[in-house]
Structure formats: structure tokens, C-alpha cells
């Protein structure tokens, strides 16, 4: 392997390239979710009867998942702190805990969806359910991708390598978390 291009190490804007790019990724993702959620909100306002569908969602499971994601974000912050102080193995442990939070979230999601599908509410069961599965599904896909990256970064961090990535994946994980903070009230609570 030849040496890395100079381009990868420059910081003319005063911000490390890795962190900068994560912010841009987050910015573009905001517009993807923003478009979807704005479409949903407009439809929801035009269809008050969707509230009867929304009543079938499991608010307690959603609330529990919110707690799980927020807790996992806390681990991500602690992992960043550990990485800052140069403690790679500790950062790796915390990142794995974060990923475990993601796994818990997905398990609860699977439980909810199984239940709802058994009741006959599937993707094509009407406007609310289409948005419900699409938005939550897109979010769940982000959780899965985030978990994979968390584990990859953790594997490096355990050997005290690429510690700056701990913060980057943390930013992404917080973003996924915040998207859920929007989804939970819009899909579960709003009646």
C-alpha cells in the first residue's frame, strides 16, 4: 500500500476531515427524513381519521425503545470521552454497549411489527400504515448500518487505532437517535 494522499490529511477549514464529512452526511440525511416526515405530516393533517389507525400502535414499546436509544447514545458519549483520554479498549467496550442498545431496539421493533402484522396491519393496509412501516423501516435500516459501523470502529479502537472515528460514529448515532425522537411522537403518540 502506497502512502495516503496528502489530501486526506489536510484541514484547511480547521475541522478534521472525518468529522466534517460526518456532518455533511448527517445534513443530507436530515433532508431525506425531512422529506418523508413532511409528507407524512401533511397527509396526517389532511386525514384526521388516520388517528384510529395510529391508536393500534404500541406506545409503551415505543417509549421503551426511546429510552433504549437514549441510553445507547449515552454510551456513545462515554466512549468518545474514553477515546479522547486515549483509552481505546474502554472506548471499544462502550461502543459495543451502544451497538447492544441498537440490537435491543431492533428486537423490540420486531416484536411490535410481528404483533401488528398478525393483527392484519401491513404495509399496504392504508395510508397510515404505509408511512408507519416506511418511516420506521428506513430508520431501522439506519440503526442496522450504525451498528455495523459501531462494531467495526470498536474493533479498531480495541487496538488503540483510529480513535478519532469513535467520535464520528457517535455523531451519526446521535443523529439516528434524534430521528427516532421525531418518529416516536409522530407515529405513536399523535392521536
Amino acid at each position: 500500500m502506497t502512502s495516503k494522499p496528502i489530501a486526506t490529511g489536510r484541514t484547511a477549514a480547521g475541522l478534521p476531515t472525518a468529522r466534517l464529512v460526518v456532518w455533511w452526511v448527517v445534513a443530507s440525511e436530515i433532508f431525506i427524513f425531512g422529506g418523508l416526515l413532511a409528507s407524512y405530516v401533511m397527509h396526517r393533517l389532511g386525514h384526521p381519521e388516520w388517528a384510529f389507525q395510529a391508536a393500534h400502535t404500541n406506545t409503551w414499546a415505543g417509549a421503551f425503545n426511546t429510552l433504549v436509544l437514549l441510553t445507547s447514545s449515552l454510551f456513545a458519549v462515554l466512549g468518545h470521552k474514553a477515546a479522547d483520554s486515549g483509552d481505546g479498549p474502554r472506548a471499544a467496550r462502550l461502543l459495543r454497549l451502544t451497538a447492544l442498545g441498537g440490537l435491543t431496539f431492533l428486537c423490540v421493533k420486531a416484536f411490535e411489527w410481528t404483533h401488528e402484522i398478525r393483527e392484519g396491519f401491513v404495509l399496504s393496509s392504508g395510508g397510515f400504515w404505509s408511512f408507519y412501516y416506511t418511516a420506521a423501516g428506513l430508520h431501522a435500516a439506519h440503526v442496522m448500518v450504525g451498528m455495523i459501523i459501531l462494531l467495526v470502529v470498536a474493533a479498531d479502537a480495541a487496538r488503540n487505532q483510529e480513535l478519532h472515528r469513535v467520535e464520528c460514529i457517535g455523531i451519526y448515532w446521535h443523529f439516528v437517535d434524534i430521528i427516532w425522537i421525531f418518529l416516536f411522537p409522530l407515529l405513536y403518540i399523535a392521536r
Binding site: I6, L15, V21, W24, S28, G35, G126
Partner: protein, 565 residues
């Protein structure tokens, strides 16, 4: 130690097919875009022949059926925008120019850059494969409005519609990855001393265009997922009988689709700015004005989208708002054109081939811009909507952008890209033939449009008011313009490929330009700069008083100062 020594020459496979070098990736985009332009051009040739001689055999294709006609029109639009304008203006020039112009050796994320091309290549294969799926390619226009696009029973191309959507979605992913790379590279990879206002305008414009793309395409990514679900999984996002709304797609599409015009316009404007300053041998007039108007276009571009939907049943009060915003956005664009003309004033103009293309860009784009005023005003648009006037209008914007400005860029940077000069005489023949053919093809469309010719009609002979000889002659004239335009492109191709081997050897700086790409050998070696440059001044210092030479490269230290300053 020189940087070239660090970057050892890689094997053929690594160098050309699995490359992370920004110049090679630029060339991959470049040649893919050029190939797709030939495909898109051929489609235009076939349906224009059908319109000029309805129902007759088209040489090289055969007889066109109504369904095929719809597919040809749809794929022509889709390919020309997503697989020609985007890869050429953003990806090819962006990849080639950004690292060289900001004094860097590569993109900030070379492997993501490679990935973005690979996804783009895949998307091109997918869109071309749609010609061979059962039911043929999608024929519901490049705007893909539901319910036509959502139901196979309506569009008669259930495979084609989904393959089309998949290809477009892949293309979006490729350009999101590429765009983020461009923005980050320009922010972080600049040479020491290159401040905000020392960045060449073309780089600025590609960066702003990438940001506009990033923020406008997001909602459509979500919208595309929803349309795909409507097509394949039985959802009803766009189906009013099931609580959906077909207008939603129009909003999501045009929230992207209109800013997309500026996504391709800005890099074209940037290329023209750089070419104009070099060949007017004069400092670019109002660098900061251009930059501020660029940002103004970027921001205003997000609030004009519903002018595409004046007749779609939107609230008339909303139509008023969008008329006003649309007229407002013409101000910064006009300002840019004026500033370019002011750059010419008092310059010492060299009528080289790239300069001719750059000047033609301003002239032709102005026609496109001025006719846009009529379409942006809801009152006149109600009459002109979905007529050939619209087609003529947006071809007077898109052809200057994706063809004329791209040629300005190719003729200007060819020596740097390939180390040889293009033949000037043949370049000028290509220029004049193309310009004459282009205007001949599209001016008649303004007339047929005003006379009421609707778009997307396969054959006008069944419609008494449109089947008059006068209108048919105009349609034939328009096709004739295209038939003039196309052969001249082969002159370009011959010039292009002949010059690769036999053109005059290009010096390091044949045009006596200031920007950093002209301070390295032609073509630049892997790693670009033997010694990483430092920047001392802006990119457009031509004809500075007190200097013997009329240009002043950005990396030349200040001790060569002539006296004043």
C-alpha cells in the same frame, strides 16, 4: 523528496479500472457521459424523425410505435440530465479540476470517490438495461408523475418503470457520495494561502451545486422509495382512492427538479467564468458579486419549484407566491450574465475555440432565461404549459449548460487532460455547425408552441388544428436543425480522438492562465504536484499593471512583484 516518487506507478488494472486517482475517475465519468450523450442524441434523432415524417421508417431504427415514442422521449430526457449533464459538469470536471485547482494531490476520500463512480456506472448499466426488459423501457416522461408511473396497468411498462426508478435512485446515491467528497475536499484540501476568495469560480460553483443537490435530492430519495413501494408492494402513497395524493410526488419531484437546473447551471457558469477571464486577458469582473449571486441562486432555487405545477390544481394564491419567487431568481442569474459581459469590456479578447463556446453560452442561455419569464408567470404559463414553447425554453437552458459550456470546458482543458492540443480550425467548424443546427432546431419550437402544439404527441395528423402544413414545415425545420447538429458532433469526435495521438504537444500552460492546474505538466502525473504549491493571490490576475507578463500564476511568490502594490 518529490511527491511523484511517493506515488509509484500502479498496474493497468489499478490505474484505469480500480483507480482512486481523481483524474482517472474524472476520465471514467467523462467517457461514460460522452457515451451516454451519444445514446441520448440517438433517441432524439429517432423521435424527431418520427415527428417530421410521421409513421415512416427511421433510418437506423425502423418504424416508431406510439409506445416506443413515449419511451424514447422519456429516456432522452432522463439520460441527458442524469447521465450526461450531471456526470460531465459535476463529476468529470469536478473530479478533474477540484484537486488540481486547489493545489492538492487527490480528493479527501479517494476510495469513496471510486465507489461513487462504480455506483454511477452501475446506474448507467441499469438504465440501459431497461431497453431490454419485458414491456420495454418506461415511457411516463422523465418527471414520472403518478398515477401513470405508479401502475403498470397505466404505463404498460411495469418492469421498465421500476428499473427506471432504481437507476435514478442509484445515480442519486453516486452523486451524494461524490458531492460530499467535493465539498469536504474544497473545504479542507486547499493549498496553504488559498483563502475563500482565492478559489477559482468554477470550483466554487461545483461546490455550491453539490450542496444544492444534496439538500434538494433528499426528499426525492424518500419520494422514490414511496413510488417504488406503490409500484411493487401495493402501498397507496400517491393513490387518492387510498388516502394518498399524486400531487405529493409533483412537490417532491420538483423540489428536487428545479434546484437540479441550478445544480447543472452553476458548474456551467463556472466553466464559462474561467474561460472568459483567460481569453479576455482581464481580471474577472466582480468576483465577489458572482460568488454572492451564486449563493443567492442556491438559496432562492429552493423556493421556486411549484412554478412547474401552475396547472396541476395547486392553490392559485400559492401560484402567485411562486410566480414572484421565480421572477426574483432571474435577478441573480441576470446579474451573473451582466458581470460576465462586463469582464469582456475593455479586455483583450482572444477568439479561441473555448472562448467562442463561452460567448455562445451567454448569448444562448439569455434566450432560455428570458423565455423562462413567460413560463414562470402563472398567467402566461396556463396558456403555454405543456406546449413546445416549454421544450424550446428548457433546451435553450439545458443545451447551453450541458453541451455548449461542456464544450467550452473540453476545448479549454483538453490540453491539460490529455497533453495534446485540439485542432483549432476543426474546433471552430464544429462550433459554428453546432450553433447553427441548435438554433435551427429549437427556434421553430417556440413558434409551434405558441401555435398550441402540445408536448409528447406521437403524431399531429389526427388533430385538425395542429395538422396544418405551416406547422408541419416548422416541425420538419426543427428536425432539419437536429440533422445539421448531429454530423458536426462527429467532427468533434474525430478531432478528439485524432488529437489524442496526433495533436500538437501541449505545453504546461498553453493559454497563459493563472490557476494551479496550469503549473503542472500536461497531463498531470499521479500526485499532481512535484512540490505542493502555496497560493499568493486570486485566480484572475490578468494584465496586472507593472508586470511584463499579462498573467500572474496563483503560486508565484510575491518577490516577482513589478513595483506597485
Amino acid at each position: 523528496m518529490s511527491a511523484t516518487a511517493v506515488h509509484a506507478e500502479p498496474s493497468f488494472f489499478r490505474k484505469y479500472l480500480w483507480a482512486t486517482d481523481h483524474k482517472v475517475i474524472a476520465m471514467q465519468y467523462f467517457f461514460t457521459g460522452m457515451f451516454m450523450a451519444l445514446v441520448g442524441g440517438f433517441l432524439a434523432y429517432v423521435f424527431r424523425m418520427q415527428l417530421a415524417n410521421p409513421g415512416q421508417n427511421v433510418p437506423g431504427y425502423g418504424v416508431v410505435t406510439p409506445n416506443e415514442y413515449n419511451s424514447l422521449v422519456t429516456l432522452h430526457g432522463t439520460i441527458m440530465i442524469f447521465w450526461v449533464a450531471m456526470p460531465m459538469l459535476i463529476a468529470a470536471f469536478g473530479n478533474f479540476l477540484i484537486p488540481l485547482m486547489i493545489g492538492c494531490d487527490d480528493m479527501a476520500f479517494p476510495r469513496i470517490n471510486r465507489l461513487s463512480y462504480q455506483i454511477f456506472f452501475l446506474s448507467a448499466v441499469v438504465i440501459l438495461s431497461s431497453f431490454f426488459v419485458p414491456g420495454g423501457p418506461f415511457g411516463g416522461a422523465w418527471t414520472a408523475y403518478p398515477p401513470l408511473s405508479a401502475k403498470g396497468a397505466y404505463n404498460l411498462a411495469p418492469w421498465g418503470a421500476s428499473v427506471w426508478l432504481l437507476a435514478v435512485a442509484l445515480e442519486f446515491v453516486a452523486f451524494l457520495l461524490g458531492g460530499i467528497n467535493f465539498v469536504v475536499t474544497t473545504m479542507n484540501g486547499r493549498a496553504p494561502g488559498m483563502k475563500m476568495f482565492d478559489i477559482p469560480i468554477v470550483v466554487w460553483m461545483i461546490v455550491v451545486a453539490s450542496i444544492i443537490f444534496m439538500f434538494s435530492v433528499g426528499p426525492l430519495v424518500a419520494g422514490a422509495v414511496m413510488l417504488l413501494f406503490d409500484q411493487l408492494l401495493g402501498t397507496g402513497f400517491y393513490d387518492p382512492t387510498r388516502g394518498g395524493d399524486p400531487l405529493l410526488w409533483q412537490h417532491l419531484f420538483w423540489f428536487f427538479g428545479h434546484p437540479e437546473v441550478y445544480v447543472v447551471l452553476l458548474p456551467a457558469m463556472g466553466i464559462v467564468a474561467d474561460v472568459l477571464a483567460v481569453f479576455a486577458r482581464k481580471k474577472l469582473f466582480g468576483y465577489r458579486t458572482i460568488l454572492y449571486t451564486t449563493w443567492a441562486v442556491g438559496v432562492l432555487g429552493f423556493v421556486v419549484w411549484a412554478h412547474h405545477q401552475f396547472v396541476a390544481g395547486i392553490d392559485p394564491r400559492m401560484a402567485n407566491v411562486f410566480t414572484v419567487t421565480t421572477l426574483i431568481i432571474s435577478i441573480p442569474v441576470t446579474e451573473m450574465c451582466f458581470v460576465y459581459i462586463a469582464t469582456l469590456y475593455g479586455g483583450s479578447i482572444r477568439f479561441t475555440t473555448p472562448m467562442l463556446w463561452a460567448l455562445a453560452f451567454i448569448a444562448e442561455f439569455l434566450i432560455g432565461g428570458v423565455t423562462g419569464i413567460f413560463l414562470g408567470s402563472s398567467g402566461t404559463d396556463i396558456y403555454l404549459h405543456d406546449t413546445y414553447f416549454v421544450i424550446a425554453h428548457f433546451h435553450y437552458t439545458f443545451v447551453p449548460i450541458a453541451i455548449i459550456a461542456v464544450f467550452a470546458g473540453i476545448y479549454y482543458w483538453y490540453p491539460k487532460m490529455f497533453g495534446r492540443m485540439l485542432n483549432e480550425t476543426w474546433g471552430k467548424i464544429h462550433f459554428w455547425g453546432s450553433i447553427v443546427g441548435f438554433n435551427l432546431a429549437f427556434i421553430p419550437m417556440f413558434m409551434t408552441g405558441l401555435a398550441g402544439d402540445p408536448r409528447r404527441y406521437f403524431n399531429y395528423s389526427q388533430f385538425a388544428e395542429q395538422a396544418t402544413p405551416a406547422l408541419q414545415h416548422l416541425r420538419m425545420l426543427s428536425t432539419g436543425g437536429l440533422l445539421i447538429f448531429i454530423p458536426f458532433q462527429f467532427i468533434f469526435l474525430i478531432n478528439f480522438f485524432w488529437s489524442l495521438r496526433h495533436g500538437k504537444q501541449a505545453e504546461m500552460n498553453p493559454w497563459h492562465a493563472n490557476t494551479l492546474e496550469w503549473t503542472v505538466p500536461s497531463p498531470p502525473p499521479h500526485g499532481n504536484f512535484a512540490e505542493m504549491p502555496t497560493v499568493y493571490r486570486g485566480p484572475y490576475e490578468y494584465g496586472a499593471p507593472g508586470r511584463a507578463a499579462d498573467f500572474w500564476p496563483q503560486n508565484e511568490p510575491a518577490y516577482n512583484l513589478g513595483g506597485d502594490d
